[in-house]
Amino acid sequence: MKLKYFAWVRERIGKAEETVEPPAEVATVADLIAWLTQRGDEYAHAFDKPKVIRAAIDHTHVQANAAIAGAREVAFFPPMTGG
């Protein structure tokens, strides 16, 4: 599963993308955030306010309870400020 990070989420984690293979019990976006947070301080810093973080699966916005099964690409980013 490919992960992508944008804006200050990318800056805090220190990379724009990576490929991970979370264990089977990581079922939802919220699970994935919790699992990443255990991987190091940079992830804990990026996700320290998980409610602020927006997520997308395969280019579509999703809520934290969305299932990640079958996802090719999951992205995490702050609220959008385009336009």
């Binding site: 944008f6 200050w8 980013f77 702050p78 609220p79 959008m80 400020t81 385009g82 336009g83």
Partner: protein, 157 residues
């Protein structure tokens, strides 16, 4: 209802010519009664420059979904959406939406809907340079509110 109309959607680093985009949408047509354009421009003051980051692939997909919603909701005869990325200085345009329709209210409402949705949902992030340093622009709650008001009256067909 407008399934035959293909909107023009571009994400680009280069500046664009608002006048040329408006002209391209209406030139040689006699079925257009109203053209509305919205230009979002980088303001100065504290801001010395903005750098826009985007999520390639999703940005195009998200704008495309909003364009299709606008086309299904209002009888448009033309639609152009351009969003810039990269470094932009005060006075330069960031985003352009142009809508054309036989009717003025359709053109107005579609343009306003698209801007509200792009602000709240399109995956772009502004990084701001000021004399005090650089910082990520924080999202405004009112942008979410502005986008939400459209869904009160609209349900997907």
């Amino acid at each position: 209802m407008n399934s035959t109309l293909t909107p023009t959607i571009r994400i680009q680093a280069a500046d664009f010519d608002t006048a040329a985009e408006i002209a391209a949408l209406s030139r040689g047509r006699t079925d257009i009664g109203a053209v509305v354009s919205f230009s979002g421009i980088c303001r100065g003051g504290e801001t010395q420059a903005l750098t826009l980051e985007h999520y390639p692939g999703m940005a195009e997909a998200e704008i495309g979904r909003h364009a299709e919603q606008a086309l299904s909701r209002w009888p448009l005869t033309g639609l152009t959406i351009i969003h810039r990325v990269g470094r932009i200085v005060p006075g330069e345009a960031i985003v352009l939406v142009v809508t054309a329709s036989a009717h003025r209210q359709a053109a107005f409402h579609a343009a306003e809907f698209l801007m509200d949705y792009l602000k709240a949902n399109a995956p772009f992030w502004k990084h701001e340079e000021t004399a005090q340093g650089t910082t990520w622009v924080e999202a405004q709650e009112r942008d979410d509110d502005a986008a939400a008001r459209w869904s009160k009256t609209w349900h997907a067909p």
